[in-house]
Symmetry: D2
Subunit: 371 residues, 4 copies
């Protein structure tokens, strides 16, 4: 019931799309982490609207100002606050949006939840713009994971009716994930890139939008990370993933398709290799009983088509409490899936850092010795 | 990272499959709730292994003893502890299971997580038997929801390759959900019952197992329940659902299929009816921006085939760290989906009570006025 | 283990004394609260170093910029971030302070806790300057309490060996507390003001410092606020109060002196008056079993003399690990007790709002109806 | 607002004085801890009412049954539930106590808090009997601390007007603390024992009661344990200590008396000794800025005279809402201070284990390697 996530590494996200600023406080970071601002910029850049056909025309400088928690380039261990000013917000007339609830958006539910006092401009605190501070926090978390040789990467599995090939779940490498992180439209089958862009462009032309599926993998997690029952690895990751706007489904390993297998097929047989315990298949996505088993964690996340479309829609006038029609003006993405990829990875990185620090202690992650 | 869930109504689950007892503490209950032990028994009975073909032969009395928190039949408001003795545990030889890790189970991850000190008999704290106290807690939570005219119900959407018809998401009634709660194999299309049982029986005969999908709906939730970002309605529900053993996927509304719709199709248009705001379709499953919009909440949960199968499997001997084969003896379900239905509903009920109490205050739910 | 406090209304404090900015995120505020910036300024002003003899010479503009969570003058209900730039920080040479640990300060413990990576300039995140965002958050919380006719006020009970008269615990009025809030040196016996200032001035002249005791009262709390055992009213208040730098003792009602009474004296007899239940004495400070009984809450808080003194002190050089002497230069208060008064009240207000929202629900405190 | 305490090691306490059982769940324990039941019995015995003059005549078997979380004598790492049956509860007539609120007790506040549904027999969940499971949990926590050479010990500083000598704060040894733990009436000046018992006996004869002060010390804590601001060492300890019934004051180091010192006196000078940093005095009680500095932690806790006295008292009849008189019958302690000593130590041990696990990770405390 709040915009704070985490038990050991906590993040507190604040801001509205058209208010003075958005940002995040990271509380519980290890000290001595040398921040790599190039890496952070790269991650922020992946989320940023760009000149591609599929993306909003809003220019976001997304220049992060660090207000606290960093001294001489390293984390102090005390709360790190990062702020991004909202600069390119149009001072348009919002009186219509105060009355006409955009279908598929949180306008109506936000209105009721906050008794009409929420800032509706650009979606306020519900805006996808709030994923920018999450990506920042995720970039810091990814850096901590990198130090432990834990790598997160993703490809766009599906856009509307076009599908990339899937990860070979038992054989994902850090190299593969890192190279996906460098692509603007990360795909395994390179031919999908064009097909995805064409599908998005077609939707855009019609004033419509499309969604898709992101498949994300994590390699290098220590065996034993997690717990039975509540707050297990799947529970924590899904909790973060469903916090991302537009996510409507999350599955691990074979996910929903595992129901088409018999137990004898779904079970991943163990074997030993170089004194390590591995599984031959990875239908369970690297997780048994809510705990990492050392195989790649694989998950798929479904993102709905962005509800901001320019065709006329039926809705209600919340002040008059009567039916009405709405035509949404202004810039918006025809598909947010490519921009969602770094957000999904950031969400995973934050949840993992939180769990790792909780289980192994803060000192394990302090870079003090490397000074 | 713990067996405690909740922020306002907290549940603390304890016990191992073959230890002295399992149980749950409910902390933060409203006072004055008149417990309906018949209802509780009914819910416990739904989860209980029975004489049906699909279920384990273990007889569980599952007789709940309430140790605290109830006085003169009503909740006191102080912690309610319910305990279930483990009575029918075989005192078999577990030395093999200490060495041979059952594929698909948490034996290996539990071994690493707890450095070999966990109680491996029957899966210990990872055992599906731990869902019994969750169902108890859920029965109490359901009772509180009932008082607010909030009803949860489910049908078995899929077993292996057999599929029931789906909920008509925009038109689910409390009556429909209540009647599903009375069926041993809850289905919408009655003919599925036999087909499901046959599919399970076939798997059982082959010493194999099958999984399936449960579709659950909630009607009557107050508009505005939830929050943006973290700990929103989808995040909280999924966090609880992924805490249930065997769950590998969770989706809301159209879920993964929503990616096959255009934005113009996926958006649920608003309209007014009797001074209320409704949506014509319900592809978003009653949730916009993480907050209930007043339409039925609809979710689907994928359960993998139970990993306990009697055919021989490849695995490792964890003590010798070498490859081995394993043949699991003893009783086990060929399909846990029917027994998972009340667990899924309990998980939802607990998460919802926690959120409702947090947002609307404890006093709203105290039945003090009825004294 | 973090700079986040609260369960329902959460505050996340960030910043270092000499970093770019300090601030606070308030998460979980009711929506629709009309902020009274004059009141907020008044509270900030009470904490601000001033021209008085007892106070540091550092000029703090303490101009709060609200970055989020306020729209058209009212809280949106989404996170409110308030930021204060650090402007008057001297860019002096801190190399000595990196080595020489100031006695009585957190220099040494902070050095170990953060492996030498903490920002030591001006005490960093340990600086009393961090109480400014707490006072801001407290001003917002006080405003919410005001709406419920809950009033907090304090007087300086003791400075070194000078003592004010105590509250008459059973007969404290909102008027008395409000008038104390208007005084720069709040006292019941007006003659104490001069005596206090003289005592402080004497210490200052000698390059030394003095501490004192603040007695704080709260009237108007609803009977029944709190819980048995953990997180009760005394536990929550003390937890916040011990978070204030320099606090070394907290007591409720008669506190330590209650041990000089017999049970027959310490028990506060109940009686009825105008259909309400009151107590004739108030030795228990308005709290029985961790729950408010409707009488004024009375507590006393001991503040040690500020450790920043200008006389030479023995200490260690942490880099060389050898004994050394230190003479602290620069501005500092000879007594922080007067400036601590609004901080103590803010701490109480925040803890109470958190508890009230948790017990009575967010909607009780939303000012939506007044729109 | 709950009977659950802790962030990493969580304890969930349940039960009412006259219900079926009381108990505690410890969630988040390290695995592999070999429980020493003799030590646990010793701690439970210290809290138990005995044949001494000062104590209630209720015979408590306090036989702990461990329901989960222990396998082959060692902690499994999964939740440990310990239950104590209530056996010697008189089935007396409680109708008077339902109406007449005992002064100084939680009868009235509990009645309002729980809308009259709480179990009032023997104080229900507010009963000091609930400290038995806390002492059990504390015994487990103490064992974990012992493995790290962290020792907690206490003496009774004051009973009514009799005072023991104080700890020499800078020179407390593990030996001194361990030997205090063996005494029934732990004192530094042996002559106090008789004086204390006489004072208590005098009060008892008059049907009255007396309170006192316990001084507790902790040696061996790692330097750097704690955090600035919220949830610091003093905040966490005080939060637990104020959860103990009858506690009305908590102070660290010189506590309230530190206000009688000048800064130049209150500051504890650092010096080096054998490559360690120590302080010459210990007025700050081993804590600077909320973090352990390596010196003994010293705190004092004020306990009010037990409100259960046999002399007639004024009170109200809560049902009739009119004034009344009350004469409490039955057994009760004339002084609970001696029995509170192990409870205070348990509270400290639990809070410290929680903080240590949070900061240093669960694995640090697992005894896996010692198998």
């Amino acid at each position: 019931m709040s915009s704070i996530f985490g038990q050991n590494l906590k993040i507190s996200v604040f801001g509205e799309s058209h208010g003075p600023a958005i940002g995040v406080v990271l509380d519980g970071l290890p000290s001595g982490i040398l921040l790599d601002f190039e890496k952070i910029s790269h991650e922020m850049g992946r989320r940023k609207p760009n000149t591609g056909a599929y993306s909003t025309k809003r220019k976001e400088a997304d220049e992060v100002e660090i207000l606290s928690g960093v001294y001489q380039g390293r984390t102090t261990g005390t709360p790190l606050c990062a702020m991004i000013r909202n600069e390119d917000a149009h001072s348009m007339d919002y009186s219509e949006l105060e009355r006409l609830m955009r279908p598929g958006h949180a306008d109506f539910t936000g209105h009721v939840r906050y008794k009409g006092f929420n800032d509706i401009r650009g979606g306020g605190h519900f805006s996808a713009r709030l994923t920018a501070p999450i990506v920042f926090a995720g970039a810091v978390a990814k850096h901590i994971l990198d130090q432990q040789d834990i790598v997160i990467g993703s490809h766009i599995d599906t856009i509307y009716d076009i599908k990339d090939v899937s990860f070979n779940k038992a054989e994902i490498t850090p190299q593969q994930l890192n190279s996906l992180r460098e692509m603007d439209i990360p795909v395994i089958d390179a031919s999908c890139r064009t097909a995805y862009l064409e599908t998005i462009e077609e939707a855009r032309k019609r004033g419509d939008s499309v969604g898709g599926i992101v498949e994300t993998a994590i390699v290098g997690l220590p065996v034993g990370l997690g717990s039975p029952l509540f707050n297990n690895l799947e529970a924590r990751l899904s909790s973060m993933l469903f916090s991302i706007p537009a996510v409507k489904g999350v599955e691990f390993g074979e996910g929903f398709s595992i129901t088409t297998l018999f137990g004898s097929e779904a079970n991943d047989s163990f074997y030993t290799h170089n004194e390590r315990v591995l599984t031959r298949t990875n239908h369970n996505g690297g997780i048994n009983g809510g705990i990492a088993n050392g195989m790649p964690i694989v998950m798929r996340v479904a993102l709905k088509p962005t509800p901001s479309i320019s065709t006329e829609q039926e809705t209600v006038d919340i002040k008059a409490l009567e039916n009405a029609t709405l035509k949404i003006r202004g810039r918006h993405d025809a598909c947010i899936v490519p921009r969602a990829v770094p957000v999904i990875e950031a969400a995973c990185a934050i949840a993992l850092c939180d769990m790792l620090i909780g289980q192994f202690g803060l000192d394990t992650f302090c870079e003090g010795d490397q000074e």
